[in-house]
Amino acid sequence: MSENQHKGRGERRTFFAQVSAGAALLALAPGFRLIDLAVGKNDDEPARPDVRWGMFVDTTRCAEGCTDCVDACNTEHGLQGFDRPQTDAQWIRKLDLEDDQTGQTWSLPMMCQHCESPPCVDVCPTGASFVRDDGIVLVDKHTCIGCRYCMMACPYKARSFIHEDLTDQRPHSPRGKGTVESCNFCVHRVDGNRLPACVEACSDAGHNALVFGDLNDAESTVSKRLSTMQTSQVRDDLGLNTAVRYHGV
């Protein structure tokens, strides 16, 4: 049962499929590099430590009441609600803000910030909550014991606990009762050189508020946004170096 045995036809087929999908994606949005294929990886390659996935959020393009990113995430990961808002999982949510002094308002998506020094990773007793080499913060549900300490520790209230039995999960997004989960930057998509569902939905709808890419690549679209526009980290005083940066708030 060695891994070499399946090389050949299967691998080449996968590679061509990915390249053509990538080319098709580029063709759909001329002039707008949605994801930089140079840092894409093949299925048999591990996550690359020289890459750091991140997101730029332009809150000036976020309309109050628009939930395209939230809906896309719910569909992609099969986050079926049970009409129990207190216990239903939410990986991304729209946060509506109003300044107490000036009355100015904002609307922005809030999800796991994929910190460089995540408190959730520090506190997990079994190490189930971890940072992958390319910066994506994940929960290894095989090791998660469901203690919810990471939920106490997250400064962004980004995590959800699964409070009931689940069936008919989306095959690429395994999730089950008794474990904790949060936004994983659609890691199954990113590993396949596609964009996270929220970014794709926002761009398909024409809002273009979300840009995703490699923060370590100075030529990537997201890096260019971060270096030319004002951005801030949420709760930056905590010193977590988040991968999600917001413009306009």
Partner: protein
């Protein structure tokens, strides 16, 4: 001719009918607790009062109370072997027993509330040593081992010369364990209610206060079954000691609140606890301050109230106050909204910007009570089987 008194120990001399009835009642409570745990695990936690906003609830209040009290209950044995207070030595055995039993009960509640309790083996073999929670798992299991060894020192006369060394180890371990438990909260940068180094010493003081109170309640109750006169020399000193511990807990609480009032960032949580928190505010003032601190201190310190019934009442109030204190810390700390954007009002579909609601559900309460029942069950059985209880010493003829 010198006559030295030799300390005798007895088992619990309770008549068989009462013994089996006690075990049956406790066993039923344990059974119901296990059923509640199964119910929560089978259906998932949506059947409890806990949610994505209040992730730790009544089970954790009970579990942490028991764990923290276990550490404090061993203090009586420490006073005997570490601090050289010979008069407490006869109480060492039962102190060790109560400590082990309370910890086991508390751990059981914690484990059964996990989302995946079937992964306990994973929890005990895979460790992330950056996590204070992981350290605590070590500290709790180590405490049980050390306390059992400590007990062995007391039972086996030939090991007596080691008891002070094991006692020092147990003492240090206790302090580290309780510091670790407090730090579970103290290390959380995310929440204004917790992110404070004072949580560690607060928990140490709380352990001594609630632990001594529970020790007195249990020990006096079982000694009465044996028709032993409770030696005034123990009780009066423990009474005053408990009063001091209650005062220290109050001191740390006041310091924490005053510091919070001074620092604008913590203003909201302080206002929440002191006035705006609805039921949390009520539980704080009446449960934690009045019942848990002021009344016990009066009863413990007033010279005219140095009687058994007032001491036991005060001890009971301390335990109730401990539950209230942990409720305010654990649930109050989670209920206050987390500020992602200070200075801005937040609103979302995920309960940002609003105080989170929580009401304890029946399964949670049953699980908590089941854990307490486990502790009491272990104590009753152990007392019946082995001579833990000090009896009045008999004079011994010197060899001639």
């Amino acid at each position: 001719m010198m006559e030295a008194a030799r300390q005798r120990y007895r088992t619990l001399e309770i008549d068989a009918g009462k013994y089996w009835l006690t075990l049956a009642v406790l066993g039923a409570a344990i059974g119901v607790g296990l059923l509640a745990a199964y119910y929560m695990e089978h259906h998932g936690h949506w059947v409890t009062g806990m949610s994505n906003q209040i992730v730790w609830g009544m089970p954790h209040v009970f579990a942490i109370l028991l764990i923290v009290a276990a550490s404090g209950a061993l203090n009586v044995a420490s006073m005997g072997s570490v601090f050289g207070e010979a008069r407490y030595k006869p109480l060492s055995r039962i102190s060790g027993l109560i400590a082990v039993a309370l910890l086991v009960g508390g751990l059981l509640i914690l484990v059964l509330d996990l989302g995946r309790p079937d992964r306990l083996i994973v929890a005990m073999t895979t460790y992330n040593f950056k996590s204070i929670f992981a350290w605590n798992i070590f500290l709790y299991t180590g405490f049980v081992v050390i306390a059992v060894v400590y007990l062995w020192m007391f039972f086996e006369p030939r090991m007596g010369r080691f008891s002070s060394r094991v006692g020092i180890l147990a003492f240090v371990w206790r302090i580290v364990l309780t510091t670790g438990t407090g730090s579970i909260f103290g290390f959380l940068v995310a929440r204004n209610a917790y992110d404070a180094a004072i949580m560690a010493p607060l928990f140490v003081a709380m352990s001594l206060s609630v632990g001594t109170a529970l020790f007195m309640l249990i020990t006096c109750a079982v000694l009465r079954v044996n028709n032993e006169d409770i030696a005034a020399e123990w009780l009066l000193r423990l009474r005053r000691l408990n009063g001091i511990f209650v005062a220290v807990v109050l001191y740390f609480t006041v310091v924490q609140i005053v510091a919070g009032m001074y620092v604008a960032e913590h203003g909201e949580i302080v206002r929440f606890i002191l006035s705006d928190g609805g039921s949390i505010t009520g539980i704080f003032w009446i449960g934690q301050i009045l019942i848990g601190s002021v009344l016990p201190m009066i009863l413990f310190f007033h010279p005219r109230l140095a009687e058994m019934r007032w001491i036991m009442t005060a001890a009971m109030l301390v335990v109730i106050g401990g539950v209230a204190h942990l409720y305010v810390i654990i649930i109050g700390g989670q209920a206050v909204p987390m500020e992602l954007f200070p200075g801005k009002t937040e609103l979302s579909s995920f309960y940002d910007g609003v105080v989170a609601g929580y009401s304890p559900s029946v399964p949670e309460l049953l699980l908590g009570l089941g854990g307490i029942a486990v502790s009491l069950f272990l104590i009753v059985v152990a007392l019946r089987v082995l001579p833990f209880l000090p009896a009045a010493p008999v004079p011994r003829k010197s060899p001639r």
